[in-house]
């Protein structure tokens, strides 16, 4: 029986975190607040929420149970909380009814959003960081959060750079301000959706996609596509039909960013 709990609502999604350990709940609350960038309010426990149970075992490990399904068991360590952080973001993104969360990097440029939906390892964060260095406004390196009118809201968590060969043990978290830029604070319409992936020796060869093909490309990156299909497709249509949709492999972000901004200036504004 879970004795302690923390219940919150974020983006309209109610979530309960329960545990028999007061310390675990406190740490989980801190993690949830960080994961959602403070976009949550504490609510009463109503028993209707999406539920995480964190069961501390006698071995010292902890099991995460999400809505009755065991997700993982591990030592209570920073990496355990990083995983929990991901689960919290996903559960909110997946159950949100009024916004669509697309796995993407996002920057603001001349008052409009440039979106880079992509799988992990595509180089989203490095591209976003390079664009910030060149004057773009930071919105997200994780989610494009889109409303029914096709406006994109900032989800500006610190950028998580992957380890590199120079500092293989570093997992630096940097802010837009560290890069000499600023973070966006308002929702903005979309000017360009770019499907791209870093490839060594790649050349920028932009292919403009039809709206149907653009929609097909963005669907796999849409968190709630199975749960809230009709709403998600409607919202994405609004984005796709009002923006330029482009696909191309790209070279290194530092080499590519200027070329891309010039392309956007000439085609999307």
């Amino acid at each position: 029986m879970s004795k302690y709990y923390f219940c919150f609502e974020s983006y309209g999604v109610a979530v309960a975190i329960e545990s028999a350990s007061k310390e675990i709940v406190a740490q989980a609350e801190q993690t949830a607040r960080s994961a959602l960038l403070g976009n949550l309010i504490e609510i009463e426990h109503r028993g209707e929420e999406q539920c995480f149970q964190l069961n501390l075992l006698s071995s010292g490990e902890c099991t995460i149970v999400q809505n009755g399904q065991e997700m993982a068991t591990g030592e209570v360590s920073p990496k355990f909380w990083r995983f929990f952080d991901s689960l919290v973001r996903i559960i909110v993104a997946e159950h949100c009814k009024s916004l669509v969360f697309v796995h993407a990097g996002v920057v603001g440029w001349r008052g409009k959003a440039l979106i880079f939906p992509a799988d992990s390892f595509a180089g989203k964060t490095r591209l976003v960081a390079e664009l910030i260095r060149r004057g773009a406004e930071y919105h997200s390196d994780e989610y494009a959060v889109i409303d029914a009118n096709g406006l994109v809201y900032p989800f500006a968590r610190p950028l998580t750079m992957r380890p590199d060969e120079v500092n293989p043990r570093e997992l630096p978290m940097i802010t837009a301000e560290d890069l000499g830029g600023i973070s966006g604070e308002s929702p903005i319409p979309v000017a360009c959706v770019l499907f791209t992936k870093y490839e060594a020796d790649a050349e920028w060869n932009p292919q403009v996609l039809s709206s149907g093909r653009g929609l097909m490309e963005i669907l796999p990156q849409t968190i709630a596509i199975r749960r809230n299909t009709e709403f998600a497709i409607n919202v994405l249509k609004n984005v796709i039909t009002s923006a330029i949709i482009v696909k191309s492999a790209r070279p290194d972000a530092a080499e590519f960013a200027g070329t891309f901004l010039e392309f956007v200036d000439n085609t999307a504004f």
Binding site: K79, I90, L171, I225
Partner: protein, 158 residues
Amino acid sequence: MNNSQFPAARTSGLVVQEMPDEVLVYDLNTNKAHCLNQTAAKVWKACDGKTSISEIAAHFGKGANEDLVWLAIDQLNENDLLEGEVKSKFKGQSRREVIKKIGLASMVAIPVIASLVAPQNALAAQSCACVNNTQCVNPPNAGHCAAITCNSIGICAP
């Protein structure tokens, strides 16, 4: 009524989104998305269970023949976008052969349906901290990313 001659478009369990030049159809039963080009969409919309293949072909004017419609029907059937199963007219012929034959005679774009399956798990769209899918568990990342296991699409779990 012979279903093969009077095909009917499936209507239940689908989310249909009209786009400027295409139609996106999302199958809620299979979580497959299909993008129908203009020709495939026009054939699909004409499949009301009462209109024959030859009448559907007539919708395209003189620039098309029944084989073009059959090619669309074949793909619609393959993607479960019709009620009931429709027997293919092109048994024993590859799609390439059929397209080649139609392409020479038709003034209308060949029907095309592109399909994909939506990811099963939202975790599939999440980043882990590794630069390839084996590094989660190996130095130097082992102590830094959220992983104890890491699968082929780069998903970490403790």
